[in-house]
């Protein structure tokens, strides 16, 4: 990946709040014109990272480059960003149509037509005060703002809170459709990994303030697979393999192994009654988080012994 293809570059980023380290020595890159999922549990540091990328918070140490420059108080860089928070604040007394007018002034790339279409799709009442919108409607408004801004770097923090399944599907469809028309760099943090996994190209997993995993979603999915079948057969297969997860039910077992489901593996299982299936992104993310915890705990005990 060369520099013109990198929109976000973070190296050794640490953000210390009183008593807690929200981000701990995180280094990562986000490619231009990609949809990146920022995944991790509550308190993993996702929102802190997004605030830092958009110059809304100050790093304790480390380096951030957005479009090749430090985003802090950088007008040309920030003019190309849009960050919609999970609990986005709007000016006092603002009605939905006030939000639309204000956004149009902030973003040169604001698309009025798209805003009008999304307003209708999400059934948002133009004249209602934002403070009187339901949780789902507030999320829909945030999604509308993020998409219609068409900002070269658009960041959504948990964009679908309170949205029902239909509205979530509308969000994914609208995002993918508009992204196809006008590619840009989109980062979205989420818990609903499996639901969005289909549209994520890149994945960044944070755990406890540290980078647990990052890479292309397809590549990550291809790193592991699930072997399932009779316990004895599966166990004999996985004895020498790195096991991520093990589930038993009756005489049947499904084991997630960190092995590429390639031809070599396929020929090994032939005739054993064992099946290979794809592993879900969620399983990989959860396992990466747990593995990060274990190695952190191990290094802490080691440190204690010294």
């Amino acid at each position: 990946m060369n520099d013109t293809e990198t929109v976000v570059e973070v190296s050794h980023l640490t953000r210390q709040f009183r008593g807690t380290r929200a981000l701990d020595d995180v280094s990562l890159r986000i490619a231009r014109d990609s949809i990146t999922g920022l995944l991790g549990r509550n308190g993993a540091g996702k929102t802190t990272l997004m605030s830092l990328l958009t110059g809304q918070d100050f790093p304790t140490s480390g380096r951030i480059r957005v479009f090749g420059e430090d985003p802090l108080e950088n007008a040309p860089v920030l003019a190309r960003t849009c960050f919609v928070r999970e609990n986005q604040q709007y000016p006092n007394n603002f009605r939905v149509h006030h939000v639309l007018s204000a956004c149009a002034n902030f973003h040169d790339s604001w698309d009025r037509d798209l805003a009008a279409i999304l307003l209708a799709d999400f059934d948002l009442p133009r004249n209602r005060e934002v403070s009187k919108l339901s949780r789902g409607m507030r999320s829909a408004l945030g999604i509308l703002v993020g998409l219609a801004s068409r900002a070269p770097l658009t960041i959504f923090d948990e964009p679908y809170l309170g949205l029902d399944a239909t509205a979530r599907q509308q969000f994914y469809d609208a995002l993918l459709k508009d992204y196809a028309e006008k590619p840009r760099t989109i980062v979205l943090s989420t818990h609903l990994i499996d639901e969005v996994s289909g549209m994520l190209e890149e994945v960044v997993v944070l755990d406890n303030g540290r980078l647990a995993l990052s890479g292309s979603a397809d590549d990550l999915r291809g790193r592991a697979c699930v072997l399932s079948g009779p316990i004895e057969a599966v166990e004999s297969l996985v004895a020498a393999l790195p096991v991520l997860n093990r589930e038993q039910m009756g005489g049947h077992e499904a084991v997630t192994v960190e092995v590429r489901p390639d031809q070599a593996l396929r020929s090994r299982i032939a005739g054993m009654g064992v099946e290979i299936s794809a592993v879900s992104l969620q399983t990989i993310v959860v396992q990466a988080g747990l593995a990060a915890r274990r190695s952190q705990a191990a290094s802490t005990t080691e440190g204690g012994r010294r």
Binding site: Q88, N93, N105, F106
Partner: protein, 228 residues
């Protein structure tokens, strides 16, 4: 600069509230004062009720920062353009409200105090002959109220509860101490004559100095504020 203009447009987009709310506050305050005046002698019909409009502007300045800042930063504004745009907004609003205020002062004197010998808008003590100077002092007072509001909100946003816990009682102590000293030294007479010796121009000057100090406090807090 165009970001600062976007910030100003954001503050001013809800025009209905910016027109209806202060007029409503003014009207209700005026109505209450008229009711109080009616049973009174004509020479007692003086009130500072129009101060409510300055308090409205102070509150608007506070909300502009507390609610406007997180939104503007999310939309890609810098803290600097937010501060500049918010100051420009204060100037525009002060000029508009100041003009209206001066017109109502004029109506008050032309109608002989709304036909009641009442003093609602013209409560200040200085020479009423030069209207540009009086306009200036009213505009400066509105602007000062706006900047006071933004300064309070910016200090709160930057420093959180400690700003209020330390700042609030601190100001009370400072104010109380000043009152005690003035009383103790029998200086109240001098204070009164100092105030009555002020002209519209000197008052404007003091308001500008005060606003500048508050603007510095606002920016000092905003430049390192973390939005959330």
């Amino acid at each position: 600069m165009n970001r600062a203009v976007a910030v100003m447009k954001m503050h001013l987009v809800d025009r209905l509230t910016l027109v209806v709310l202060p007029l409503g506050i003014l009207a209700s305050s005026f109505a209450i004062n008229v009711l109080i005046w009616l049973p009174m002698d004509a020479d007692g019909r003086r009130t500072g009720g129009s101060v409510s409009t300055f308090i409205f502007v102070l509150a608007a300045g506070m909300f502009a920062v507390i609610r406007g800042l997180p939104f503007a930063l999310g939309m890609g504004a810098t803290r600097r353009s937010f501060a500049v745009g918010t100051a420009m907004t204060g100037a525009v609003l002060s000029a508009a409200y100041g003009t209206l205020y001066l017109v109502l002062q004029g109506v008050e004197s032309l109608t002989n105090g709304w036909g009641l010998h009442g003093v609602f808008f013209d409560w200040a003590w200085f020479d009423r002959s030069v209207w540009p100077a009086r306009w200036l002092v009213v505009v400066a007072a509105f602007f000062g109220s706006w900047v006071l509001g933004t300064a309070i909100a910016a200090l709160w946003s930057r420093w959180g509860t400690p700003a209020l816990v330390i700042g609030g009682p601190g100001l009370v102590l400072l104010g109380g101490g000043a009152v005690a000293v003035l009383t103790w030294q029998h200086w109240w007479h001098q204070v009164g004559s100092w105030f009555s010796s002020q002209t519209p121009m000197t008052s404007t000057g003091w308001l500008v100095v005060g606003s500048a100090a508050l603007a510095v406090a606002t920016w000092a807090s905003l430049r390192r504020v973390s939005a959330s």
